[in-house]
């Protein structure tokens, strides 16, 4: 897994690639909690390049959403492929997280 970082006015975009599983989730957790800690309140997580996610990865999204919710931040997730989307659906995350097909829509959402 690789994490890329991009900044638009007021929004931090983290891009994930390859696989987010039990062996890589910890790195992602450290990263995202780190940026929230550092003060970022509007986050987009772009999953366009992510091929695979397991419950260990889902757990981090949930954790990040809760943390941001507590500080009136905003989180949007974009670019889920079929398989990832299926996992999100099964886990019931589609209804509790803001999912967008494209990165730009996600940015628009959190920037609003």
């Amino acid at each position: 897994m690789n994490i890329s970082e991009d900044r638009k006015p007021g929004v931090l975009i983290l891009g994930l690639s390859e696989r987010l599983d039990a062996t890589t989730a910890k790195a992602f957790e450290d990263k995202i909690l780190g940026v929230i800690e550092a003060g970022d309140r509007r986050l987009v997580i772009d999953l366009a390049q992510l091929e695979y996610v397991s419950s260990a990865g889902l757990r981090v999204f949930l954790l990040a959403a809760k943390r941001l919710g507590a500080v009136q931040g905003k989180l949007a997730i974009s670019g889920l492929n079929d398989h990832v989307r299926q996992v999100f659906d099964i886990a019931g995350f589609s209804s509790i997280l803001s999912l967008y097909p494209s990165r730009d829509e996600a940015i628009k959402h959190v920037a609003a």
């Binding site: 696989r19 599983d21 039990a22 062996t23 091929e51 695979y52 397991s54 419950s55 260990a56 889902l58 757990r59 949930l62 954790l63 959403a65 809760k66 919710g69 079929d82 398989h83 299926q86 996992v87 099964i90 886990a91 019931g92 509790i96 997280l97």
Partner: protein, 776 residues
């Protein structure tokens, strides 16, 4: 030791030896001369004494003879006097009184006048009554006068001798009576004779000589070598006595009438025999002992002088030697310093010693050597630079050559039925071996292995040409014999270098396993099967590049799933060990028998390992190349993976499932579902399944059945039935959602069925996932 020190030492030693030898010889000869002189002096003295001894004896004899004649006169007068007196009627007492008066007033000491019977009734000494006897035993001295009484003799003179009555020395003379037979004897006390002898004899001369101080001692020996006289200088330590051996020696020398001299305790003793003239000492010898103090002191003075002169000569010699050594060694020292600088790398140094001396010649040679060395170094630098350039170019050439060979393994990930691996180990940087494999159409794979004659750059260039042509030729042709024929024609054209290449070319239909092949003089490959390893049937073609007219022919066979191909070059079988022993076909076949079931990668790796081990320590003589293909090996429909209870093991699990999926062309999302389900189950077991921190094994088995994948997970953790786990409520809003607990839920939802069984101490989970193959 430096040359300077050596020279100095040598010269000094030589000087010392010469000076000491000269001083020694001079000293010894001086001593010899002085001793000879002393000896001569001693001899003169000894001879003089010997003659003196004889002279004294003669004089005394003459004196005594004269006295004897005088005594006869006196006795005759006394005979007449007595005859007259008795005829005149003088009484004996009266006559005795007169005789006594004569004896008293003259030097004549005694008168003895007998009667006819021998009774001395008339005498000067009236106190002694004496009668002559004819018996020589009774009167050894007096009987000599008896013939006067017997009328047999008129006069008798006897030599001075000790008297029988006392020990006084007396001389007697007697005549016969004039009136009647009787003995008329007169006697002298002979002490004066001894005194005379003492005044003018040998002893006196001896004492005189000894007292003079030039002689220490004089000893007179008689013919029996008994000391008859001895005189020595007072106040001097006693000189050594003559020994019995000396005496025996003297006796012999005297007999031979030879003189002798010997030195003992610094005293020179000279011996001279006493000859005939020595009278009673004839046959004796005289020893004269002389002091040699003057010799010793002369020698001492000479020695002191010698030491002084020697010291002076040594000192002077050493100084000269030091200067000479310095003169000789200075250039050598200069040499040493320069050579040290040159050996330090400074080749510009030259030595400034000129002239025709040995050192001058050496310096010239040295400078010449230094110049040549500089040239050689320069040459070497250039050569090394050129060599480095060539080596670097060779390295680049090698990289280019290697880049021409397919080296990505597995080369065709989409073809699960193909397990291919190959490797080349060039003997030099660049070599003439190569292999190649490529699809000539959708299903048919062309395999080639080749070996160009020779090695190095020419072989590499020829190899590049061959490989390029090969790819070009296979573009449009279908059969391997055609490939070889056309390649051969191309290679023969303009092949001025007369190089050739052995090639084996085969075409495998990956769908059916049909394998067509043709050989151009190459080592026949092996077919690896369950039964063993056997070479393919030869197709009889010659190496390419030799003749345009060579014809090639193809053979066809079918590879069954699980069978393999082993292609190689002769660098494998001809690899030599240190003793020159080849790796050989026999060893290769043994290797293939043992390894026929291994993967292509393992076969290649372990073959290279074996060859390297065989020829360890020996420079590789030929390229070693091998290409292995296993057909259908990846088509097994099940596999098993054993994981440790560590999260990083998940990566291995994911990779193997991906490979399994790819081999069996499963839909990627179905593969991901399986990966996800397994990850959730295994992560759960690793995280919560064990009561201890020890290492445990989790076994995962996948098998592909009719339209579904059967997945089994077996572990020895605590009993856990996922079906009984409280399902996560996925309906809750965000803020009520627990973080976690989703894993089992996901796993259950992603597979089509899930069964749990507790078998003894093991959890056994069996899941099924329906799959359909993707369309090829």
């Amino acid at each position: 030791m430096t040359i300077r020190a050596k020279t100095l030492l040598m010269v000094t030693c030589l000087l010392a030896a010469a000076v000491l030898a000269t001083a020694g010889v001079l000293g010894w000869s001086s001593r010899r001369a002085l001793l000879s002189e002393t000896e001569a002096q001693g001899l003169v003295i000894a001879r003089l004494l010997a003659r003196s001894a004889a002279f004294g004896t003669h004089v005394m004899r003459d004196v005594e003879a004269a006295i004897g004649e005088q005594m006869i006169v006196e006795a005759t007068i006394a005979a007449h006097l007595v005859a007259v007196a008795e005829a005149a009627g003088f009484k004996p007492q009266e006559i005795n009184r007169r005789l006594k008066a004569i004896a008293k007033e003259t030097v004549l000491d005694e008168f003895w006048i007998t009667d006819t019977k021998g009774h001395a009734y008339l005498r000067s000494n009236t106190e002694v009554d004496f009668t002559f006897s004819a018996d020589p035993v009774e009167h050894p001295q007096a009987h000599a006068f008896w013939p006067l009484l017997a009328g047999e003799s008129r006069a008798v003179v006897q030599e001075a001798r000790k008297r029988e009555v006392d020990t006084q020395v007396y001389k007697y003379a007697g005549v016969a009576g004039v009136d009647k037979p009787r003995i008329v004897q007169v006697g002298y006390n002979a002490a004066f004779l001894e005194q005379l002898e003492g005044r003018m004899g040998l002893s006196r001369l001896m004492h005189y000589l000894v007292a003079g101080g030039n002689v220490i001692a004089i000893r007179v020996l008689d013919h029996n070598m008994l000391t008859v006289d001895y005189s020595e200088l007072a106040g001097r330590s006693k000189i050594a006595d003559v020994t019995a051996a000396d005496l025996a020696n003297f006796r012999r020398l005297v007999h031979e009438n030879r003189t002798a001299a010997f030195l003992r305790d610094s005293v020179l003793t000279v011996m001279a025999p006493i000859g005939d003239e020595g009278g009673e000492l004839n046959g004796g010898a005289i020893l004269v002992s002389l002091p040699t103090d003057h010799v010793q002191s002369a020698i001492g003075a000479q020695a002191r002088l010698a030491v002084f002169v020697s010291g002076l000569v040594l000192l002077l010699g050493s100084v000269i030697a030091l200067v000479a050594a310095k003169t000789i060694t200075n250039p050598i020292h200069q040499f040493t310093q320069l050579t040290r600088r040159i050996s330090g790398g400074d080749l510009t140094q030259t030595i400034e010693i000129h002239g025709q001396s040995e050192l001058g010649v050496l310096a010239a040679s040295f400078n010449e050597m230094s110049r040549r060395l500089t040239e050689s170094m320069e040459h070497l630098k250039q050569t090394t630079a050129a060599k480095e350039r060539i080596e670097s170019e060779l390295k680049i050439a090698s990289e280019i050559q290697m880049s021409m060979l397919p080296k990505t393994f597995p080369p065709f990930p989409d073809h699960a039925e193909l397990d291919i691996h190959a490797a080349i180990l060039p003997a030099k940087e660049v070599g003439g071996d190569f292999y190649d494999f490529f699809f000539i159409d959708e299903h048919r794979l062309c395999l080639v292995i080749a070996d160009v004659s020779g090695k190095g750059i020419p072989a590499a260039l020829f190899m590049a040409v061959t490989k390029t042509l090969l790819r070009a030729e296979t573009d449009e042709i279908q059969a391997p014999d055609e490939v070889l024929s056309r390649l051969n024609r191309e290679l023969c054209r303009d092949n001025d270098s007369c190089m050739f290449v052995t090639v084996f070319c085969g075409i495998l239909d990956t769908r059916t396993g049909r394998f067509d092949y043709s050989n151009g003089g190459h080592n026949l490959p092996y077919r690896l099967s369950n039964g063993g390893a056997a070479t393919f049937e030869n197709t009889g073609g010659a190496a390419l590049g030799l003749s345009e007219n060579t014809s090639y022919r193809s053979q066809s066979t079918v590879l069954n799933p699980g069978e393999g191909l082993f292609l190689y070059t002769d660098g494998v079988t001809e690899a030599m060990d240190a003793a020159g022993g080849l790796f050989s076909e026999r060893r290769l076949e043994e290797f293939l028998m043992a390894r026929r079931g291994s993967t292509a990668r393992e076969i290649v790796a372990s073959l290279l390992e074996s060859v390297k081990r065989h020829s360890s320590g020996v420079p590789q003589s030929d390229d070693v190349t091998t290409l292995v293909l296993r057909y259908g090996a990846g088509l097994e429909t099940s596999f098993e993976i054993r994981l440790k209870n560590k999260l990083p093991e998940l990566q291995r699990l994911h990779r193997d499932i991906a490979a399994f999926g790819s081999r069996h062309r499963l839909r990627p999302n179905a593969v991901k579902d399986i990966q996800l389900a397994l990850e959730e189950i295994v992560t759960n077991t690793i995280s919560y399944g064990y009561d201890d921190n020890g290492e445990h094994e989790i076994v995962v088995r996948l098998s592909l059945g009719a339209g579904e994948v059967n997945i089994e997970v077996e572990d020895d953790g605590r009993a856990f039935n996922p079906l009984e786990a409280s399902g996560a409520n996925v309906e809750l809003p965000l803020n009520q959602r627990p973080v976690g607990g989703l894993g089992i839920h996901l796993a259950r939802r992603l597979v089509d069925s899930l069964e749990y069984e507790r078998r003894g101490r093991m959890n056994l989970l069996i899941m099924k996932k329906r799959v359909e193959e993707t369309q090829a």
